[in-house]
Amino acid sequence: MITYAVFFFFAAIAVIFALVVILHRNPVVGALSLVASFFALAVMYVLLEAPFLAALQVIVYAGAIMVLFLFVIMLLNLQRQPEEPTRPIQQFLGYVGSSAFGIGLVYYLSKYAVMELPSGPFLADARAIGVKLFEVYIFPFEAVSILLLAAIVGALVLSGRGVQTS
């Protein structure tokens, strides 16, 4: 009973703040609403019996990536430039097209994606994830670390600080 109430409350929060992200003019308000939306999604992950990933969602997405977004918005002073509204034809096609896509998706999901509830508990704690990560998925793990290194080097070069000319 309480589970359903929690689900609906946080699902509503996620959807409402996602709408604020795409509809509000000010990108700072959009970034903070996205943080709230990620937080609500972390609660969803807890409801899906993956508390480790819920904590990771808050640490990585809401705590690091969005801080990066906020830094960039604030340092570039982007909220001072009023964004011109998009051309009406683009707005119309965008809203209509995505609504059609969304309605179709929700309709087909509610009609065909009916599944029975899973039985038994789902052991998704840190130990199980760690075992899988270091035994089965060790190669993607190392590859992702190289990818992160590439991203760091790329970001440094693009911001103009990594290249030293003697």
Partner: protein, 356 residues
């Protein structure tokens, strides 16, 4: 969820009341300690007019905060300006939910009373998650004040906080590796044994006494100073340099909220250092029984440990000069992060050799 009945709910509410009540009372006490302690270190007297030894100074300060005019600067984003102090306070108050503050004991009805508000399986990750959220209070306060000094203070402070969060997290990982679990109750239970040196000296098995975790203790403590924006890392509120940094434009109750959230964050991180390194609620050299008196004694010992750490926070603030910002950032990335990594390797080696 199996069998949560009314008594469980009532006990949870009692636990929350105790913990939140204790945390909210930290601020007045720490204000007094800070002002008398700094006076002691600086060889002066400090406040001694309001009540004996100036003990009621905090009441006078609270009354002042209530009665001051609440200003919102022109051109500031009103919503975010008012929300920013809350972003700082909420992580500070909720992180204490996963810290165990006493020994679990059996009530007369046979029910086990665990003095921890929420014994999560991923306990310490909640603390890291909420620590990353506390950056938002500062960044939002700095931006919403429509003031260049506040913005610079906010950006600098949040850059410092996210840099030292890495060192904090990695040094805590070595403790968790040794304990084998992410729950803080398991971390404390692991520290309730004894190390026997030379077959004669019995040391309590606290993590601070184990040579593989000395580096982690140092790195965690330094990162704790950086996370709570206390000297020597308080560039965000550097008086005489940035006016007052990110809370320049705040007055009366909103400033009081920032003030409170700093002291409460200090208390929470001291509680965390105690739990991870100093044995939590473990009374040294005594096997606490699982009764109410054992619980009370362990809760008192926990409070004493946290208080000692908080006095050390005050002591360091008035002793060591402020670090320059680029030195601070350089140290965070080039010194403390590698030390935290070295400590992880050290603990891994100890675990492989079965010395832990």
């Amino acid at each position: 969820m199996a069998g949560i009945d009314k008594v469980d709910v009532a006990l949870s509410i009692l636990k929350i009341a105790i913990v939140v009540g204790a945390l909210l009372n930290v601020t007045p006490i720490m204000v007094w300690v800070e002002r008398r302690g700094s006076a002691l270190i600086q060889d002066r007297v400090g406040p001694n007019r309001v009540g004996p030894f100036g003990l009621f100074q905090s009441l006078a300060d609270a009354a002042k905060f209530f009665l001051k005019e609440d200003i919102v600067p022109a051109g500031a984003n009103k919503w975010l300006y008012s929300l920013a102090p809350m972003f700082g306070l909420i992580p500070a108050l909720t992180t204490i939910a996963v810290v165990p503050w006493g020994r679990p004991f059996r009530l007369p009805s046979g029910r086990l009373f665990e003095p921890i508000v929420a014994d999560l399986n991923v306990g310490i990750l909640l603390i890291f998650a909420l620590a990353s959220l506390s950056v938002y209070g500062i960044v939002t306060a700095g931006w919403a004040s429509n003031n260049k000094f506040s913005l610079f203070g906010g950006i600098r402070s949040s850059a410092q906080m996210i840099s030292y969060e890495l060192a904090l997290t990695l040094s805590a990982i070595s403790v968790l590796m040794a304990a084998g679990s992410l729950r803080l109750t398991d971390v404390v239970w692991k520290q309730t044994g004894y190390f026997v040196l030379f077959d004669k000296i019995k040391l309590p098995a606290w993590n601070v006494f184990s040579p593989s975790m000395w580096l982690a203790f140092i790195v965690f403590s330094v990162a704790a100073f950086a996370e709570t924006n206390r000297l020597p890392f308080d560039f965000a509120e550097a008086e005489a340099e940035l006016v007052a940094g990110y809370h320049t434009e705040y007055s009366s109750m909103k400033f009081a909220l920032f003030f409170m959230s700093e002291y409460i964050a200090m208390a929470t991180i001291s509680a965390l250092i105690t739990t991870l390194f100093l044995g939590g609620w473990d009374i040294p050299w005594v096997n606490e029984p699982a009764t109410f008196w054992g619980f009370l004694a362990s809760a008192i010992v926990f409070t004493i440990k946290v208080s000692v750490l908080m006095f050390i926070f005050v002591w360091v603030r008035w002793t060591i000069p402020r670090l320059k910002y680029d030195i601070l950032m350089r140290m965070g990335w080039k010194v403390f992060l590698p030390l935290a990594f070295v400590n992880i390797l050290l603990v891994a080696w100890f675990i492989a050799e079965r010395w832990i």
